[in-house]
Symmetry: C2
Subunit: 213 residues, 2 copies
């Protein structure tokens, strides 16, 4: 039976946080994995950018109540993370659904939301470099890894900023479906996969805000 | 005045072909560049995958008639390329609008559509590795480059498969807004930019179809 991956949309999510991983996950045949788009309310959800540029809208097929059982949860980051930290419906949805999911995965500042929900307590996790302190300030019970492309803590997998989500997605695919499947998907997308979770070329950017953009 | 980038959606477009470049372009402040989503008809347009997996839908803000003047046109590839080659409305839109655009850029098999429209004749261009022959069979008046991450032919810029579109987008940003702006955007997205257009790690995959996915 196919696994179901729920991609969680919220206003101001970061485009590549979502669609980098989904490019890799949708390369799997639908009898192995099915992607569903979920948000607090079904219908269009607009992405965001740190530059405040207008961004595309993506359609959520399910709201939190109607979403099917999820084997994998994919939570992006983005400028919308900050208001999302105060969204009890989102936090409760994640708390409830993560219990039954095989893997709950976040990209970028998405781990700040998971940490706020208390879901990363007692686990090792990472976040994006530009606002690392946003995540780490949500819980001091998390073993925050500053130098990590992604961290696989078993039921929770967290990645560093934006494009690191692609590498994490391939690692999850390798774990669930085999290394050769992940290799083939990366190759098909002509993507030079960063295969080492601990190799982090961007660690020097820690908490460096982008001021001139 | 801000440049306007028109991202062209069609049924079965490839997710990362579109949202890799748009991640980079939407990092520019909106007083420098504005992204608009355009399709034959406004409203939801569904992405596609070679695996036939169900994919997300994205909203086109404008149809071909209502689209504003476009300084940059971004055309993705994907499984939808094959029916798109027969879509005269799309081909005519591209032919008409490319004349006034500063840059018309394609990702992956999007260059097959540009070639079919005759827009690449007399120019150097590239395409994705997995279906290179799909593009090259559209016109023998194009100087098809098999070994290229992307090809900058001035008014037309074409990239190789899927993730190569991100590198091409950064190169276009560097050309239009300066190298340091592009560097900063890549760094903010924690993206290891392939900066050399001629360095192509995937050339050995030429026309190798993915059979087992």
């Amino acid at each position: 039976m196919a696994l179901t991956l729920g991609a969680i949309l919220y206003e101001g999510f970061e485009l590549l946080d979502m669609f980098g991983p989904l490019e890799m996950f949708t390369a799997l045949p639908p009898d192995q994995l099915k992607v569903v788009m979920v948000a607090e309310k079904s219908g269009p959800v607009t992405a965001g950018s740190m530059s405040n540029a207008p961004c595309p809208s993506v359609i959520a097929d399910y709201d939190f109540e109607s979403a099917p059982p999820l084997d994998i949860i994919l939570l992006p980051g983005g400028v919308g993370t900050i208001p999302a930290l105060e969204n009890d419906n989102l936090l409760n949805f994640l708390k409830t659904r993560a219990v039954d999911a095989q893997i709950t995965a976040s990209v970028c500042s998405g781990s700040a939301i998971l940490a706020r929900a208390g879901l990363l307590d007692g686990r090792r996790a990472t976040s994006n470099k530009m606002f690392f302190s946003l995540a780490s300030s949500q819980s001091d019970k998390v073993e925050w890894a500053e130098r990590a492309r992604w961290v696989d803590a078993g039921d929770f997998v967290t990645s560093s900023g934006v494009s690191a989500g692609i590498d994490m997605a391939l690692a999850i695919i390798a774990r669930l479906f085999g290394q050769s499947v992940a290799d083939q998907i990366a190759e098909g997308a002509e993507y030079s996969w960063h295969r080492n979770a601990d190799e982090d070329p961007f660690v020097d950017q820690l908490n460096k805000l982008s001021n001139s953009l």
